[in-house]
C-alpha cells in the first residue's frame, strides 16, 4: 500500500523536494546545536523553555483533534465520516511524531533520553506524557493503517481494529490532559497554575486539529479525484465552531479569575501577554491579533451562509489555526516564564538556528503527512473506479 507514495506527478515530487530541503536545513542546524549546546537558542535561565516546547504543546492538540471525527463516526454512527476518519488519524500520526521530535531537540543531553525508561519515575508528569504520546502514536498507526488496508481490499474492518479505535477516544483526551498537567501542577508559575488548563487545552485542540484537517481536505479535493463531500466539511466546521467558542470562553474565565480577584501575581502573566507589563510588550501584538482572529473565525462559522462558501470556510479555519497556534505555540509557554520567580522580566527571542530547527521538524511532519495522505488518496481513488 505504501508504494503508492512512490508514484506521483512532478508537482508531488517538487513538494517532497521542498520539504527535504527544509528538513536538511533543520538537520544541519540541529547538528550545530548538538555540537555547541542549547546556547544557540534564545532560551535563558529565566525563559528555560521556548519555541520547541511551545510547538510540542500546540501539536499535541492537533493530534488530539482527530478524535472529533472518531467520536461521531464510532459512537453516533455518523456515516459521512466513515471515509474521512483516516485523514484525521494520519494527521494525528504526523502531529505526534513532530511532538516527539520537538522533545528530543529540546533535551540538553539527548543521548541520555532513555534514562526516562531506565529510571521510570511515575511522580513525574513527563513520564506519563511519554507513555500517552507514544501509545497514541501506536494506536493511530494500527487503526489508520488497518482501516485503510481493509478499504483497499473491500472487506469490513475487523473487531480488534475497532477495539483500538474505541480506545483511541479516551486516549486522545489523555494526551492533552497529561500535557496540560505538565504546566498546571507547578507551584509558583501563576499563569499555568489553573485547574482549567486541561479543558482549555482540549477545547483549543478540538478547534485547531479539525480546522487544519479542513484545510488539508480542501487541498486533497483540489489535487485529487477524491472529494470528502460538502456535508463532511460542514459537519467538521460546526465542531470547530463549538470548540472555539468553548476555548474563547475558557480564556475569558482566566481573565475573570485573575482580574476580579485582583491578585497581582495572577494578573502579571496575562498582563504581560495581552497588555504589556512594566513596558515589556513584545508579545502584545501577537496575542491581541490572536484574540481578534479567534473571534473572526467563530463569527464566520456561526453564520451558515458564510460558512457554506468555501473561501470563507477556509479563511475561518486559517484564522482559528493562527489564533490557537499563537495562544499555545507562542503565548502559553512564554507567559508562564514571564515574570520569573523574582518578579523580573527577561524577554525571549528565538534565534535563527532555533527557528530553522523548528521549521525542519514541521517539514518532517508534513512529509509524513504527505506520504500518508498520498496512500489514503490512492485507496479512495481506487474505490471510485
Amino acid at each position: 500500500m505504501i508504494e503508492k507514495a512512490l508514484q506521483g506527478s512532478s508537482r508531488y515530487w517538487t513538494w517532497i523536494g521542498f520539504l527535504l530541503v527544509l528538513i536538511g536545513a533543520g538537520f544541519i542546524s540541529y547538528l550545530y546545536q548538538l555540537k555547541t549546546g542549547l546556547g544557540i537558542t534564545g532560551m535563558s535561565r529565566d525563559v528555560s523553555w521556548g519555541v520547541y516546547i511551545a510547538q510540542f504543546t500546540y501539536l499535541v492538540g492537533v493530534a488530539a483533534g482527530a478524535v472529533m471525527l472518531v467520536i461521531p463516526e464510532l459512537l453516533h454512527g455518523y456515516h459521512p465520516y466513515r471515509r474521512v476518519v483516516v485523514f484525521g488519524e494520519f494527521l494525528a500520526i504526523a502531529a505526534v511524531t513532530m511532538c516527539l521530535l520537538f522533545i528530543v531537540v529540546d533535551i540538553g543531553q539527548p543521548a541520555r533520553l532513555f534514562n526516562v525508561l531506565l529510571h521510570p519515575t511515575p511522580n513525574s508528569i513527563l513520564f506519563w506524557d511519554m507513555i500517552v504520546l507514544n501509545g497514541y502514536l501506536l494506536i493511530n498507526i494500527i487503526v489508520g493503517y488497518n482501516t485503510l488496508l481493509c478499504d483497499k481490499k473491500g472487506i469490513p474492518v475487523p473487531k480488534w481494529v475497532k477495539f483500538f479505535a474505541y480506545v483511541s477516544i479516551p486516549w486522545a483526551f489523555s494526551i492533552h490532559t497529561v500535557t496540560a498537567f505538565l504546566y498546571s501542577g507547578l507551584p509558583g508559575r501563576h499563569a499555568w497554575l489553573t485547574a482549567i488548563m486541561a479543558p482549555r487545552f482540549l477545547a483549543s485542540a478540538f478547534a485547531s486539529g479539525p480546522a487544519l484537517l479542513i484545510l488539508l481536505l480542501l487541498i486533497v479535493r483540489k489535487v485529487s479525484k477524491y472529494d470528502p463531500g460538502e456535508k463532511v466539511l460542514q459537519s467538521i466546521a460546526k465542531t470547530i465552531c463549538y470548540a472555539m467558542i468553548a476555548n474563547l470562553f475558557f480564556v475569558g474565565l482566566e481573565f475573570f479569575t485573575a482580574f476580579y480577584s485582583n491578585i497581582p501575581s495572577h494578573m502579571h502573566g496575562l498582563e504581560y501577554l495581552f497588555f504589556g507589563l512594566h513596558g515589556h510588550d513584545q508579545l502584545v501584538p501577537w496575542m491581541q491579533t490572536a484574540g481578534v482572529l479567534g473571534f473572526l473565525g467563530v463569527f464566520i462559522l456561526l453564520i451558515p451562509p458564510l460558512r457554506r462558501r468555501i473561501g470563507f470556510l477556509a479563511l475561518a479555519c486559517a484564522a482559528i489555526i493562527a489564533s490557537t497556534w499563537t495562544d499555545k505555540g507562542v503565548g502559553l509557554v512564554i507567559g508562564g516564564f514571564v515574570p520569573n520567580p523574582f518578579e523580573k522580566i527577561t524577554e525571549y527571542h528565538p534565534t535563527f538556528p532555533e527557528i530553522t530547527i523548528a521549521i525542519g521538524i514541521w517539514a518532517v511532519g508534513f512529509l509524513i503527512l504527505t506520504v500518508l495522505y498520498k496512500v489514503a488518496i490512492s485507496v479512495r481513488e481506487q474505490e471510485l473506479n
Binding site: T36, G37, L38, G39, T41, M43, S44, R45, D46, S48, W49, I103, D106, I107, G108, Q109, P110, R112, L113, N115, V116, L118, H119, T121, N123, S124, I125, L126, F127, M130, L182, Y183, L186, P187, G188, R189, P264, S265, G336, F337, N340, P341, F342, E343, K344, T346
Partner: protein, 276 residues
C-alpha cells in the same frame, strides 16, 4: 552520644573516609551531639507543620539561617559567593541569559515577592541591602517531584541533591522551582572557567545539564561545613541540624523571628532569613 555519632557517620558516607577530629568539629558545629531521643520525640510532634518526616529516618535535617542584620552590614561583600563558586567550579558567564549561579544576591522585593506589596513602608536599610539566595532544599521540593529520571532527589538528611550524569537536561525542574534556584548549562561550562583557578576536588559539569547549590554534600561527607558558611567572616551564615532542638540554627530560630521564601506554596524551605 556514641550511638548518635555512629548514626551520623553512616549518613555522611562511611567512617573510613572521615577524620575523627573533623567530625568532632562538625558535630559541635551542628549541635548533633547534644540531642537526646526524648527531646527529639517532642520536637517531631511540635514540628508537624514544619519539617516532619526526614528526621525520623536520619535524625538530621540540614538547614541554613541567614542573619541579614550581619550580612547587610557588609556592603559589596562576596566572600560566600566566591567561596562557593570556586569550590564547585561554577562557571562565570556574564550574559544573564546564560548565567550559572549557586548562591547570589538579590533585592528584598525580588526575594520576598509575596510580601513586597508592603514595600513603601519597609525600612530603607532592608529595601536597600541585597539578600543572599540559594537553593532552599525544600521539604517538599517540586523539582524532585517533576524530574523524569530521579536525577534530582532528596536525601534522608533533607538535602536536595543532583546526579549530573543522569540529568537529561529537560529543564522541567527549572520550570517547577518557585525560587529560580536552578541553572542550566546552555554552553560548555568549561568555557566559563577559562583563566580561573580550579578546584580539582570537585568535578566540572558538562553542557546540557541543570545544576544548583548542593549544601556542600561533598564537604559534609568529609566532616566540613559548607564553603559559604566557612567563608563568611561575619557570622551571618549558620548551618546546622534543624531536627536537633539544641542546634545553633534552632537556637537562632527560637530567639529571632525568621522568614522563609514563599511559604504559602507549601514547599517548606530550609533556608531561613532573620530580617531585623
Amino acid at each position: 552520644m556514641e550511638l548518635k555519632r555512629r548514626d551520623f557517620l553512616k549518613i555522611v558516607g562511611g567512617s573510613a573516609l572521615i577524620g575523627g577530629s573533623a567530625i568532632s568539629a562538625l558535630v559541635e558545629e551542628a549541635g548533633i551531639a547534644h540531642a537526646s531521643p526524648h527531646e527529639e520525640h517532642g520536637h517531631s510532634a511540635e514540628e508537624d507543620h514544619g519539617h516532619g518526616h526526614i528526621e525520623e529516618a536520619s535524625g538530621i535535617r540540614w538547614a541554613m539561617v541567614v542573619d541579614m542584620r550581619k550580612c547587610s552590614e557588609q556592603e559589596g561583600c562576596r566572600d560566600c559567593i566566591n567561596a562557593c563558586h570556586y569550590v564547585h567550579n561554577v562557571p562565570n558567564f556574564p550574559d544573564p541569559k546564560e548565567e550559572v549561579k549557586w548562591i547570589w544576591k538579590d533585592e528584598y522585593h525580588h526575594v520576598f515577592t509575596d510580601i513586597s506589596t508592603l514595600d513603601p513602608y519597609v525600612p530603607e536599610h532592608i529595601k536597600r541591602h541585597p539578600f543572599l539566595v540559594l537553593c532552599n532544599h525544600c521539604d517538599n521540593p517540586p523539582c524532585v517531584r517533576v524530574c523524569p529520571t530521579k536525577a534530582t532527589f532528596k536525601r534522608p538528611d533533607g538535602i536536595v541533591a543532583m546526579d549530573y550524569h543522569r540529568c537529561i537536561g529537560c529543564r522541567f525542574c527549572m520550570a517547577a522551582c518557585p525560587y529560580g534556584s536552578r541553572s542550566f548549562n546552555w554552553r560548555d561550562p568549561r568555557l566559563g572557567l577559562k583563566g580561573r583557578e580550579l578546584n580539582y576536588e570537585f568535578p566540572t559539569r558538562m553542557r546540557g545539564v541543570v545544576e544548583k547549590c548542593n549544601f556542600c554534600v561533598e564537604r559534609l561527607a568529609q566532616g566540613k561545613i559548607p564553603a559559604c558558611v566557612e567563608a563568611c567572616k561575619h557570622g551571618a551564615l549558620t548551618f546546622g541540624n534543624l531536627a536537633d532542638p539544641n542546634s545553633e540554627v534552632r537556637a537562632l530560630l527560637r530567639e529571632n523571628y525568621a522568614l522563609r521564601r514563599k511559604p504559602q506554596l507549601g514547599t517548606k524551605p530550609s533556608v531561613f532569613y532573620i530580617i531585623a
